[in-house]
């Protein structure tokens, strides 16, 4: 991890990627840049004082587990948002992936690995279609993925016959989310972290990542520089779709069933996590660590309010206000840093 000359575009006034020397200095730089991290710490400290039951391993592991699905969705969406696009189909797409996993494993009784890969590829296929519609047919991402959101929602219901598919018969499936490869850490959380590292590497070390930022900064200039932006956009949406597919498998494993009516609303939560993490909807800047922190902020906040038994109807008000404050202080700090 020594040679870490990262172009990971965190934000700062104009998102200048400074060369980083080591993993720790990299982390420090990232964290300093991100006031989101401070928000997270403030929330953790606050809830720890507010409720003695908050900072227990069981609850923290519960928070991490509840971050897994939204977090995985948010990771994939980070790529799309950095290109200046958006993906509204991740929520119901995840559901369709879960349903297809159910069809493969329960109805067709395929081997575990095959079913899981099938579910993930379902997500990838949806991402590919989104990418095709956006890059080749040149539909606006918002509308192309909104349509896909509706289609996936409908198909999930149709394919499942409007009933849940239970995985109880599939040995080992549940362990994908709830087993423990690392003692004490549910596999779903492990998957989230592994995918985060993968996403980080993809975004900051590979051509895919470079072109993701380049397309988000100025697609036409990138195209004229000889980058086949259409191809790369399809690749990027497909990658996002694969993350959606993994999220589908994980939520299926966690609920031990594919619930075909689930999914709407998850997309906004994931997008909110990405933006709270400092990725710009205008494209060209963003970071994986930020997204992870954004997703954690959301789930810590929700969990903390529940632990404090705040009335359900007040919870959304508080979440809304905290989002405003978090994003505002972050914007303020950036402006300070810029001047």
């Amino acid at each position: 991890m020594n040679a870490t000359p990262v172009t990971d575009q965190t934000r700062v006034g104009g998102g200048t990627p400074e060369p980083r020397r080591s993993a720790t200095s990299f982390l420090r730089a990232q964290i300093q840049q991100s006031l989101a991290f401070a928000t997270l710490v403030v929330l953790l400290v606050f809830f720890s004082f507010a409720s003695s039951n908050f900072f227990t391993w069981s609850n923290i592991s519960g928070i991490l587990l509840s971050t897994a699905v939204i977090g995985i969705l948010a990771l994939g969406t980070t790529f799309v948002i950095i290109t200046g696009g958006i993906d509204l189909s991740i929520g119901t797409g995840m559901t369709l992936a879960a349903v297809m996993t159910g069809i493969f494993l329960v109805n067709l009784e395929l081997p575990l690995m095959v079913g899981v890969i099938g579910g993930i590829l379902t997500g990838g296929l949806m991402g590919f279609i989104n990418g095709f519609n956006i890059a080749i047919l040149r539909l606006p991402p918002f509308i192309a993925t909104l349509a896909m959101m509706l289609i996936a929602q409908g198909l999930a219901l149709v394919i499942s016959g409007v009933r849940p598919i239970y995985f109880s018969s599939v040995v080992g499936f549940k362990d994908i989310a709830l087993g423990f490869v690392i003692p004490g850490l549910p596999n779903a959380v492990l998957i989230l972290f592994v995918l985060a590292i993968l996403a980080y590497v993809l975004l900051s070390k590979t051509l895919l990542g470079r072109y993701t930022f380049a397309i988000g900064s100025n697609e036409e200039a990138t195209r004229l520089s000889g980058v086949d932006t259409r191809k790369w956009k399809i690749v990027i949406y497909t990658v996002a779709g694969l993350f959606t597919g993994v999220a589908g498998v994980v939520i299926g494993a966690r609920l031990d069933s594919a619930q075909p009516q689930l999914g709407t609303g998850y997309e906004l939560q994931a997008i909110a996590a990405v933006i709270i993490g400092g990725t710009s909807l205008l494209g060209g800047r963003g970071s994986i660590l930020g997204t992870l922190i954004g997703a954690l902020i959301m789930s810590v906040l929700i969990n903390g309010l529940r632990i404090m038994s705040i009335q359900t109807e007040w919870q959304n008000v508080v979440i809304g206000v905290v989002i405003l404050i978090a994003v505002f202080t972050d914007a303020l700090r950036q402006r300070r840093a810029a001047s």
Binding site: S66, I307, S309
Partner: protein
């Protein structure tokens, strides 16, 4: 999936009577069971039914549009489950003007026009859940509720029936928290876990519909609690709840008779088409089921998977 919904204009072409059912939802297992009851009764009586409902039970407005569209289809009768008792009144007048008889199921509209309603006494069902909860935890301790809606009538009544019964009959039991997970399994699981973390002495959890109940079961499973360490009481049936009861994670659940609701609704509509007056209120009943009585014929008949 099951036939019968290929009606619409097709129905107009045949001589079969056509009944349009406008439900509160269609995605949940409960509504699918109502639908299947309605469809089997329709097959038996030789009528055609269609079954429509909004994606979520908050969508009062789009349900009204569905009802409007149902009236415009000029069916022989309409079966309706009101999401809101007031908002539907003007469309009942429209149905009256069009001389389409209306029967109701699950929840009624504040209008004189509909002929009948087939439903469950949700307050009573909630109270029955409270009785069993009290018995199972020994009459004292902390319990909490994971609700599925704090506003629509079934959510409110199943909660209130439970709460009122506890307050009236079991003074040593305190309800320490009520939160709502929209019937979303994942959300309900996370809520249940937070409640268990926040209240280490919690004795029991009550989930007011299938999604809430299964969310609780998932939470208990994820926390690795032993079967019976925390008393879980659910509502409605479905494969997952039946499994949870079988393996002891859930003590038992209240079930309504959704298949019976579907059947009774179509029967009432059929009667109305034939000029007979159906019974004003058809109580389709509710039942407590657990490991001991799940196999009984009477209970098995109202469970759905």
């Amino acid at each position: 999936s099951a036939g019968g919904s290929d009606a619409g204009d097709a129905a107009a072409d045949t001589d079969k009577p056509y009944i349009a059912l406008v439900s509160k939802g269609f995605q949940h297992q409960f509504w699918q069971a109502v639908k299947s009851g309605a469809e089997s009764k329709a097959a038996e009586l030789g009528v055609t039914v269609t079954f429509d409902g909004p994606a979520s039970e908050t969508e009062v407005d789009s349900q009204l549009q569905m009802l409007q569209a149902a009236i415009d289809k000029k069916p022989d009768a309409i079966g309706y489950a009101a999401l809101d008792p007031e908002a539907c009144v003007s469309l009942m007048d429209a149905a009256k003007t069009a001389s389409i008889p209306v029967v109701q199921f699950d929840a009624g509209c504040n209008s004189d026009y509909p002929l009948s309603i087939a439903k469950t006494d949700s307050l009573g069902a909630g109270a029955l859940a409270a009785d069993h909860m009290a018995e199972l935890i020994g009459g004292k301790g902390e319990v909490a509720i994971v609700g599925h809606s704090q506003i629509n009538s079934t959510g409110v009544e199943r909660r209130d029936g439970f709460v009122e019964q506890m307050e009236a009959e079991y003074p040593d039991i305190t309800i320490v928290d009520i939160q709502y997970g929209d019937g979303d399994h994942l959300k309900s699981a996370d809520i249940a876990k937070a409640m268990i973390a926040a209240h280490p002495d919690l004795k029991g959890l009550y989930g007011t519909n299938e999604g809430s109940a299964i969310g609780i079961v998932n939470a208990v499973g994820e926390l690795g609690l032993d079967a019976g360490e925390l008393t879980v009481i659910g509502f409605d049936s479905g494969q997952a709840q039946i499994d949870a009861i079988t393996n002891g994670l859930m003590a038992g659940a209240i079930t309504q008779n959704p298949i019976g609701i579907g059947e009774a609704t179509v029967q009432a509509a059929f009667d109305a088409i034939n000029g007979e007056t159906p019974e004003k209120v058809i109580d389709t009943g509710y039942f407590w089921f657990d490991k001991t009585n799940m196999e009984d014929a009477e209970i098995a008949a109202v469970l759905y998977k």
